[in-house]
């Protein structure tokens, strides 16, 4: 059992495709996505007209986590409704994630 980081990204749903591709390119071995709605500084996002959000979770090493975050920050953070955060989790087989 090892400790890795679970990084969660919540963003405009139309960014799902590019972000998923990019985190894999930056070293994530997988990800899990789901549709969510929400509210933040850019207002309410709970219907198809205003747009909804995607929640992308990926388990990665701490260094890859930071790389992904700095990439997202540069490319998307200033312009799109979006948040990201992470915390440590314990996984069983490290081989599946790193």
């Amino acid at each position: 059992m090892t400790t890795l980081m679970l990084l969660t990204i919540i963003a405009e749903e139309n960014l799902a495709g590019p972000i998923e591709e990019e985190i894999v390119r930056l070293g994530a071995k997988g990800y899990t996505s789901s549709s969510v709605s929400g509210k933040g500084v850019s207002g309410i996002r709970d219907n198809q007209w205003d747009g909804e959000n995607i929640k992308i979770e990926t388990i990665v090493s701490e260094s890859i986590c930071k790389e992904i975050l700095s990439h997202l920050q540069k490319k998307y953070f200033e312009r799109y409704p979006m948040i990201a955060f992470y915390h440590p989790v314990t996984v069983i087989r490290t081989t599946q994630f790193t």
């Binding site: 405009e12 139309n14 960014l15 549709s35 207002g43 219907n47 198809q48 007209w49 205003d50 747009g51 909804e52 540069k74 490319k75 200033e78 312009r79 799109y80 409704p81």
Partner: protein
Amino acid sequence: MLTSILSPMVLAFLLGIVASRLKSDLKYPDSLYQSLTLYLLIAIGLKGGYKLSLAAFDEVIWPAIAAILLCCLIPLWTYGVMRKAGRFSIPNAAALAAHYGSVSAVTFSAALAFHESLGISFEGFMPSMLAMMEIPAILIAISLARMNDTSSSTGQASVKEIARELLAGKSSLLLIGFVLIGLVVGKTGWEQVSPLFDMPFKGVLTLFLLEAGLVAGRKLSDLRKGGLLLIGFGIMFPILHAALGIWFGKMAGLSLGGATILGVLAGSASYIAAPAACRVALPEANPSYYLTAALAITFPFNILIGIPLYHEFAVYLFN
């Protein structure tokens, strides 16, 4: 006239507004909204293609040119007015130009229903005009923003990339794809699927408009943010564009009904393709402006007052 306003479609839209003002818990599941959208786009495309297959080339070519011209001019002038008179930021002005330059499939359908219920004939190939008019204005508006906004950072999608995305985007892909399918399948093909895509069409439109009303009702609270200016633009633009469209339509040889419908297309504002495109390509634009203007001002105006008004104008122009 009253019959057209008192149609189930228009009343369902009003009911949606009432429901949302009453803070009703009525809500469509996302996938129902998406399924209704898919249905409307496919049905409009198929029928338009089938009707186009019955038309002669030189009947269609001039109206097509008129339609393309309209949706190239409208975003240019809308952008200018919004920047100058409206003092909107570059992204906001461009987003509004994209919405008013593009077209609304539902307003279009309401115009068809209006003509059918009054027994006024129109060219069957009009849905193919709708298909042609959806994308160009959005591309032009986004390019305007790109050209004028020198501060824009790296990492932005190029206009070419956006063009590809918009053409492969679900609404134009379905519209264009099913216009082609309708063109090819002919009468036998059309009759195989018309029990799903033609007969229940107005019922599905009723369902869709109820949902549109729910969202429009919520957007009414945002009207204050946009202010009187936005309300003014949201009523003035459709009237001007519709008049222009009817005049272009007449010059292109369309009938009274056809010209009115081209006017309705020109006067309508998009709220399926344009908002999605703007969220991605112009994220700095504020949805409270463009969605409120398109959905809570222009759309109800067109449905309730615009369509009959444009019809009167067309009658005047054609006599």
